[in-house]
């Protein structure tokens, strides 16, 4: 390796060179990750928007919500019984109802109002605020002018806006897990589960084929039992709480349903069976139904369904929110259809 007698020019030049390398690497990774998100959560958000963009025609029914819905509701199964086309646009828990409202507005803008909308979210995420969505918004593959105008609008501090300007230069730090994953892949030291990650094209092709349904593969009953006990401790016998942010978004969607005349269902999504065997949880669900009905009863198009949610054995679940296996998916999809058919909207 060549060495040199050191002078100030040498120090300044090498320092500038090092800074340029860091900046260039950040910009390159920013561009790469925009096109190829590798974080499973982010990619779920990105993929569903990409799917929505790729659609040439709309569907009669659209499903919105969290990952319980992404992994548990299979449009192909629901279509037969509803006698109508269905697509699954559900994402992840962090997106919240605000993001569901944005997707719905974007959908209506592209294809007009559907016949019906089902928003399926698990019971333990209604207290969340838009803060969980904030870190995800830059990963929506639409210009901000597009989603930024949807309601409920999100407030962004000047620091956040300023930070967004610098994001291309902070990706190595900001998205270090994604970059680390890519590096491990390049050097072939990713572990087995990481190696299974598909490319964006493969993922999108799978999503299109399955109309947005993305099943989970591995049962994890021990995890389910442990998480269920933690949830029971947290919620059993307690009053139901919905955050003002979610109320806001719920009212937005209900009013859209009213205005555009489509059926709007809020579905209390699937849970481990131990949850519905608990009296305290049944009381919690009764309270939840009261609150929800009150929030959407002002118009005739909204319904709260699944007061006692579809329940599954721990062996049929990957975590407390995700069912696995054809049998469980069929049971969950049918349960939702049953609820919809049993609560018609005129």
């Amino acid at each position: 390796m060549p060495t040199t007698s050191i002078n100030w020019h040498h120090i300044i030049a090498s320092t500038i060179g090092a800074v340029l390398i860091v900046i260039a690497t950040n910009i390159f990774m920013y561009a790469y990750l925009r096109a190829n998100p590798v974080n499973e959560g982010l990619s779920r958000v990105y993929d569903k928007w990409a799917y929505l963009n790729a659609l040439e025609t709309g569907a009669d029914w659209i499903l919105l919500g969290d990952s319980s819905c992404t992994t548990g509701l299979q449009p192909a199964l629901m279509e037969k019984r509803l006698g109508a086309s269905v697509i699954n646009l559900c994402t992840i828990a962090d997106t919240g109802l605000t993001h569901d409202a944005w997707m719905l507005q974007y959908y209506i803008k592209r294809f007009g109002a559907p016949k019906g909308v089902i928003v399926a979210r698990v019971f333990h995420e209604w207290d969340r605020t838009r803060d969980d969505l904030r870190p995800l918004v830059d990963d929506i593959p639409l210009p901000r002018e597009e989603w930024g105008n949807f309601i409920p609008q999100m407030e962004f501090s000047w620091q956040w806006k300023l930070y967004q300007k610098f994001r291309p230069f902070t990706v190595l730090y900001d998205k270090s897990l994604s970059v680390a994953f890519l590096m491990r892949k390049i050097f072939k030291v990713a572990n087995r589960s990481e190696k299974r990650r598909d490319s964006l094209e493969q993922r999108l092709s799978f999503i299109v084929r399955n109309k947005g349904f993305v099943p989970e593969a591995r049962a994890n009953p021990d995890r389910v039992r442990a998480e269920a006990q933690a949830l029971l401790k947290q919620h059993s016998g307690k009053p139901f709480y919905i955050s003002p942010d979610n109320v806001d978004a719920l009212k937005t969607m209900a009013s859209l349903a009213d205005k555009k005349s489509f059926a709007f269902y809020i579905m209390n999504s699937n849970v481990p069976d131990v949850i519905v065997k608990d009296d305290g949880m049944l009381a919690f669900y009764a309270d939840m139904a009261l609150v929800m009905q009150r929030l959407i009863s002002a118009n005739g198009k909204g319904r709260f369904i699944g007061q006692n949610p579809p329940a599954f054995a721990a062996e049929e679940m990957e975590n407390i929110d995700h069912v696995i296996g054809k049998k469980a998916v069929k049971k969950f999809s049918n349960a939702v259809v049953d609820e919809v058919l049993g609560n018609p909207v005129r």
Binding site: T4, I6, W8, I11, T15, G17, A18, I21, L172, Y173
Partner: protein, 473 residues
């Protein structure tokens, strides 16, 4: 204030800006360093500023009287200084340990005694600055260093880059640099920048990323495979090296930016060929301190085999105890003393058989085997050092093996991946026999090396700054 934290970065930017502005005004600049050093130390706990200041005054006064009274009359002042420093160290660091063990001892012989445990907070870096101050007083007594003014000595005692985790500086090395106008050369800045970047890399990418693996295995040692036990020790071997040498590197780097050279504290310790070679390379400032202020005064190797062995073992036991008030550190010190004695014994046999104490020239092909053997001996030592109890250390040493669990291979890959660049750099430095080559690379390779290291730190660096392990010592 941790070197690997944003707050330190901000502190140093402000500090360095003023430092540069006062380059030609020594008194002002030194006053600024002193203020900065006290601010730096007070950031942890301002209450201990009194301890630092008090020790400074005690050591200064002792040195002052020694300087005035000369060797013989100064001796009581030397004893006073040694007693004062060791009492403070003993109180803060060893009080609870000795009380607890005394109670256990009394109870075991049937004497009823109840433990008196005080809630004593360990002042960060106390072992380092106590040894540094004590070294100064001894140096003045031995005439190795000229007695300094209170201001200069206070600066020497509190110099912030090395205050809390060394290197433990010698007055004859650091004081003169603090007493004269300093200049900042490109060579010093280039070297300093390298040491800071490389030190940060070792801390946040290697040490902090190995820490969870080490913790997982040491905290669940009875539930992991024998292969995992090996990996836990292997990972700790690199964690402790990277954590501690990182602090020394950053300290030396910061000092270089200020035009000051601190002593080398680590010289590629894991390429050592023997226990004595290891101690010439590991924590050099402590090992030479113990040699000069403990081993030599005890008589060193001048009074026959038995006394030499006793001196060596005593020095290593105290060296172990210096690290902390726990039996595992004493065991570690004892182990180090033992392998040094075995090495001496083998040298003796060699001397009888071949008439020389020098190892036979075994040829370059055997060097890797010697290195590997010494590396394994070092790993065994780290078991004592890291274990929470003697039982745990014993369990590790008797159960370690190559039995793999489902996750062993992945753990091994992760550890090797984490230390890969360290190995490249250390092997490069070992082959070049020089640790200052990289800073003097020409512009393009230097920019690439710095750029790549910074990128890796951004991606893989631990997010939450964690304390350096040696802060606890």
């Amino acid at each position: 204030m941790l070197f690997n934290s944003l707050v330190f970065g901000l502190f140093f930017v402000v500090f360095y800006g003023v430092y540069i502005l006062t380059m030609r005004r020594l008194v002002l600049q030194n006053a600024w360093i002193l203020a900065g050093s006290y601010f730096f130390y007070g950031w942890w706990d301002w209450r201990f500023l009194g301890l630092l200041g008090g020790l400074t005054i005690v050591n200064y006064l002792a040195a002052e009287f020694i300087d005035k009274d000369g060797d013989a009359k100064g001796r009581p002042w030397l004893i006073f200084a040694v007693a004062a420093n060791l009492s403070i160290l003993g109180f803060f660091k060893y009080f609870n340990f000795f009380i607890e063990n005394a109670v256990l001892g009394l109870n075991s012989i049937g004497v009823s005694a109840s433990p008196l445990t005080l809630q004593i907070i360990l002042p960060v870096g106390i072992s380092f600055f106590v040894f540094q101050g004590l070294g100064y007083v001894i140096d003045v007594w031995q005439g190795r260093t000229k007695h300094a003014s209170l201001f200069d000595f206070a600066l020497f005692q509190a110099f912030f880059p090395q205050l809390v985790a060394g290197p433990i500086e010698r007055s004859s090395h650091l004081l003169p640099q603090l007493q004269r106008l300093r200049s900042i050369s490109p060579e010093l800045v280039a070297g300093g920048m390298w040491l800071i970047v490389w030190g940060l890399y070792k801390k946040i990418v290697i040490a902090d990323n190995l820490a969870p693996t080490v913790e997982r295995i040491f905290d669940n040692y009875q539930n992991v495979s024998s292969g995992d036990l090996f990996l836990g020790v292997f990972a700790f071997t690199f964690q402790i090296y990277c954590d501690f040498s990182a602090y020394s590197d950053i300290a030396r780097g910061l000092a270089r930016l200020m035009g000051i050279r601190l002593m080398l504290n680590f010289q590629l310790p894991y390429i050592a060929l023997s226990p004595s070679d290891f101690w010439r390379r590991w924590h050099i400032s402590l090992s030479t301190w113990l040699r000069d202020y403990l081993y030599f005064p005890l008589g060193g190797n001048r009074h026959g085999q038995w006394k030499t062995s006793r001196n060596l073992m005593l020095t290593m036991l105290i060296g172990g105890l210096w690290h902390g008030a726990a039996w595992n550190f004493i065991l570690w010190g004892g182990y180090q003393g033992l392998i040094l004695l075995v090495q001496r014994g083998l040298s003796g046999i060699r001397s009888t058989l071949f008439g020389t104490t020098e190892p036979r020239r075994t040829g370059i092909l055997l060097v890797p085997f010697q290195m590997f053997g010494m590396f394994l001996l070092t790993m065994i030592g780290w078991v004592f050092f890291r274990a929470n109890s003697a039982e745990q250390a014993f369990y590790f040493l008797t159960n370690i093996g190559v039995d793999f669990s489902e996750t062993t291979a992945q753990t091994a890959i992760n550890i090797l991946w984490t230390i890969s660049i360290l190995i490249v750099v250390d092997v490069f430095q070992a082959l070049r026999m020089n640790q200052s080559d990289i800073p003097s690379f020409s512009t393009v390779p230097r920019a690439i090396i710095f750029g790549v290291l910074i990128c890796i730190m951004l991606i893989f660096g631990a997010r939450i700054p964690t304390e350096f392990i040696y802060f606890a010592f």
